[in-house]
Symmetry: C2
Subunit: 625 residues, 2 copies
């Protein structure tokens, strides 16, 4: 509801007024009535609706004359637009003592219809003059239009992100037709960061001007994501004076956040690198992906130049609006030899790109996106996170400062708001990635997923059982070229390794407690996987044998690093345990040999792969924030 606009009238003068359909004009006739005026009458052409407050008291004489008081207000509305300028008329005649005519104020009115329109009800179609178009409200019963960052690239060659090109757009409509589009190449710039306001030609009548709008930046620490566009109608009051504003309209957009996709969403494409030495890994992955449905995309050695850490260079996500949505890759500040891959190979039509790089801070291993994960949807103490929560690894704030994920990336992730991040402690690892000790797999029961955690205690428990059952001489790493075999007996008698794993278990337990608290999990939502660690440089840890938690999840198929554990009755005890634990959830394990080409380089299957997944069915704007 727009409050009425004050219109001044003047006795003996014709005032010209523009009237916008849907608004109300108010005249205070007492404000500059002629001296001695005690009553007034109102006359108008038929299209003009008038209402006077206070009205004429019952039995008041003469009829048709309103008493003139300081509080008298005349409200004017119209319902149809003018066909010609000044085609509606209104007059106020003032009367003094003995009903003497003291003069008349005349107004010539031109009624126009003008509104700035957007899709405020989020149904994918621009509607006319939505009463809520000027504000944003979260929730399925909320309102407010959505804007996408135009971060894809229409051209595949000599490409540039579309939003970096020289066009820009927004929406407006003169009445009636429903319009929506994001992008018309031929449209000239109307507004940009350099041109914050522009004159718009008024075409008159029922014609419309169609504007197109694109987001230029994602929400971030210094930009909440809301974009307001104002339309002002100016009227020259008389010659030689500046125009004065008589009407403004306002629409608000929220720039869609970048959203991550958890392991529980359906995989669409799997990405791996081909290197000169990773044939066994590639072979295993091909088979797994073939059995699971998604497309496999292999980044050639030409492009990756030996950098095999597909997980670390980028994170797949998406942006979504009621009218459109597409995948967007977040490029890590890591920038290894794979650094050009996201921009050169992924950015394209309907495939967006965004990156954040620190200006001065040093990039560390914690900036790789093996250290950036997202949980499935959770409810925590009654608070719902239907798009899950982002999980990153940082230093624990101890006295001696550790490594951290760089601030610009953390700021970006927090600013997206819809997957409120959780910070885990991952700096105790040499590589320092959360995917070295945790992952999520789908489950048919309970919360719809399980959190898998690496557990040295579970590892020792299993190996002691193997020993107990008489297989103490069974060997880990049997037959591997790149590793020294070791018997279960020898391993269990290594007190240094036990002490190291006691420490690692404490570090993981800290994270276990954080995850239980921040994701609202019970012990029964967590499965401990038998994995041992060892301490390498700087008192920091790495997996002792291939780290089975560092897996790729493709629906019900898991691609698990082959652990090369001790064989009991011809079967690897670690694989058997893993299969047994996962089978309870209806999941199948495929063990992939990543020993030489990944494990020895301190990574595993997950580090060496990436998955683009389908977006959530839940719409981010339906969240209650």
């Amino acid at each position: 509801m727009i409050p009425p606009r004050t219109l001044r009238i003047e006795t003996g003068t014709v005032t010209r007024a523009l009237y916008v359909i849907g608004t109300e004009l108010c005249v205070n006739p007492g404000r500059n009535a002629p001296p001695g005026a005690a009553r007034f009458s109102v006359d108008s052409t038929h299209a003009v609706r008038c209402r006077v407050v206070p009205g004429i008291p019952d039995g008041h004489a003469p009829p048709g004359l309103y008493p003139l008081t300081a509080a008298s207000v005349l409200f004017i509305t119209m319902e149809t637009i003018s066909e010609l300028a000044n085609d509606s008329k209104l007059s106020v005649t003032f009367y003094g003592e003995k009903n003497k005519d003291l003069g008349k104020a005349v107004v010539h009115i031109t009624a126009v219809e003008i509104s700035l329109d957007v899709d405020a009800d989020r149904d994918g179609v621009v509607e006319k003059n939505n009463p809520n178009k000027g504000s944003w409200q979260w929730g399925s019963d909320g309102h407010g239009a959505v804007l996408l960052v135009n971060c894809d690239s229409e051209s595949k060659f000599r490409k540039k992100r579309d939003c970096e090109s020289d066009y820009n757009a927004w929406f407006i409509r003169h009445p009636r037709r429903t319009l929506f589009s994001i992008f018309v190449k031929e449209f000239p710039v109307v507004l940009s960061s350099d041109v914050l306001s522009q004159e718009v030609p008024y075409l008159g009548g029922t014609s419309e001007v169609e504007f197109f709008v694109e987001g230029l930046r994602f929400p971030d620490k210094d930009f909440e994501g809301l974009v307001t566009i104002n339309l002002s109608l100016l009227e020259p009051c008389s010659e030689n004076f500046p125009e004065t504003p008589i009407f403004t309209d306002k629409v608000v957009f929220r720039v869609a956040p970048w959203i991550m996709t958890p392991n529980t969403l359906k995989p669409v494409e799997v990405f791996v690198c081909c290197t000169s030495d990773n044939y066994p890994f590639l072979k295993g992955m091909r088979k797994l992906v073939e059995d699971s449905g998604p497309k496999l995309r292999v980044c050639s050695e030409n492009m990756n130049r030996g950098d095999r850490w597909m997980q670390d260079e980028l994170e797949f996500g998406y942006i979504d609006a009621p009218h459109q949505g597409f995948p967007v890759v977040l490029d890590s500040p890591r920038n290894g030899e794979l650094g050009d891959f996201p921009y050169e190979e992924l950015l394209g039509p309907d495939f967006g790109y965004v990156t954040r790089e620190p200006w001065t801070e040093e990039v560390t291993s914690l900036d790789s996106f093996g250290n950036l994960e997202v949980s499935p949807p959770v409810v925590v103490n009654g608070k719902s996170y239907p798009l899950g929560r982002i999980i990153i690894g940082v230093a624990f704030p101890t006295v001696t400062q550790g490594r951290n994920m760089t601030k610009v990336v953390q700021d970006f992730l927090y600013a997206q708001k819809v997957q409120d991040p959780i910070r885990l402690y991952s700096d105790w690892l040499v590589v320092g990635h959360v995917d070295e000790f945790m992952t999520f797999v789908p489950a048919p029961d309970k919360k719809g997923f399980r959190l898998l955690l690496a557990s040295p205690d579970a590892g020792y428990k299993l190996l002691r059982k193997v020993q107990e059952e008489g297989h103490g001489q069974a060997k880990l790493f049997e037959g591997l070229e790149d590793a020294d075999e070791i018997t279960v007996d020898d391993l269990l008698s290594n007190e240094k390794l036990q002490a190291e794993n006691r420490y690692v278990q404490n570090c993981i337990d800290w994270n276990r407690d954080v995850l239980k608290r921040e994701l609202g999990l019970d012990d029964e939502d967590i499965i401990d996987l038998p994995i041992l660690f060892t301490i390498l440089e700087d008192d920091r840890a790495a997996a002792y044998y291939p780290d089975m938690v560092n897996m790729i999840v493709l629906g019900k198929n898991l691609g698990v690093p082959k652990p090369f554990g001790p064989k009991v009755n011809g079967r690897c005890a670690l694989e058997a345990e893993m299969c047994s634990l996962m089978a309870q959830l209806g999941l199948r394990c495929t063990f992939i040999d990543d020993f030489a080409s990944y494990h020895k380089l301190l990574g595993e299957v997950h580090c060496g792969s990436n998955v683009r997944r389908e977006p959530f069915k839940t719409k981010w704007w339906s969240l209650k924030l």
Copy 2:
């Protein structure tokens, strides 16, 4: 409620554990039980409380032995702190087939009490371990501690704002005593922007460490105002390994916003400048202030060097916390000859100082604080603004860009949040200040105040009445040295002046409509004052005769620019009208001659004065935002 912390135990080993009173430890005995274990028993010294889930089923034999399942959890709490390290003990014994003893895991526990405490309930006193201390919630039923920016200066000479000195502080307590203080000079730096974490000595037992905290920056565009302080307890798991975190505590402070005081609050001090030419003004002000109660402070010519615009150089406000509050001056980026006054003369013990200056933008006349006002408390469409709303003047966003209040000041004002600003259109004035066309006065009825607006229409109406009643030859500016006299007849026949005032009325009407909308006002809450304008340079306006709305409000006494209007029966018709309008509200007008020394320089009484007022009784943290 802190979720339990996972504690690992190991058969055949003594584990040492620190326990924090108020928390809970949980042990999963199945996690690394010896192979073949089917049952377990729990034994402890008397201070340790144990609870096992699931419990022992009824009739289960042998008694005291729990069935060992994957889901078995042992919860441990204690209620009193340890007197000696490791003085409490707990053991878990595992049993296999035929209740064969398979080994025992022993834990030695040291119970400590530790908490980071603040005044989260906002009663001025730090309480123990408030469950809400880790978050902020607005409202009288809300919670969260308040921090003041330490922006006053304890020393009067060679001064510096205290927060720029080399100390900094925060709070912590080991149990029991209630502590609160903001500032201890002798305290060494614990945390600062350079030192984000520090080791704190643990004194043991029931001793306390007292920390002091000060705010360094006001909320602003890049700082929401929330400050979080974390305390972490680290435990060495064993020699040669890094410590692992076992407990964290967190408190949140909100930095108190800077709050402006409207005309309806009681005046404490009035500030004016003494110049070589303003004797009549000073004389009038002295008398007015004497009659009204507050203290008068005259800034000498030494300090002001001829700059008389006391309103424009600074704005008085205050900051407030449950334990303390004091006035804070906001120094304008204007920086005329009065530029040093706020820092040199006002900053002192319990008198704070803050400023915002643009780095690159040009400072314009709209950056003077005659262009920064605040409304009395209002309710707008059910939304309450118990501290009023800030009012600033800006350019109307037309195609040709106008002058604006500089972004850094606007950002600062918006970031304070508790007096949500309104932007008026003031760029149509030569000087461009909102105080040239509006002010607020207290009223005994309706909303407790009236909005006074300059109104050319009201001016013309009054002068026409004067003419009508036979005083057309009465003169404005009669007997003034610095002005040409003009008769009412001549003035009313000046069509150019009429056209100018028609334009001005349109500009003011725009603002009238904005104020009605944003402050929830009706026409009856607004009084039009008879004031004419004239167009000077750049199509911009200034008052034609002294601008009566540009007044100083001291309780029921108004210091109004003497308008030098036409005399009717020996009395100025403008003064008479003004007195009559204000008398209805129980307000007394004192007309102050500012013609030569202010009006001719395009300012008036309000521009040449400033008022420090009492703070609101309403506490800002009680607002529902």
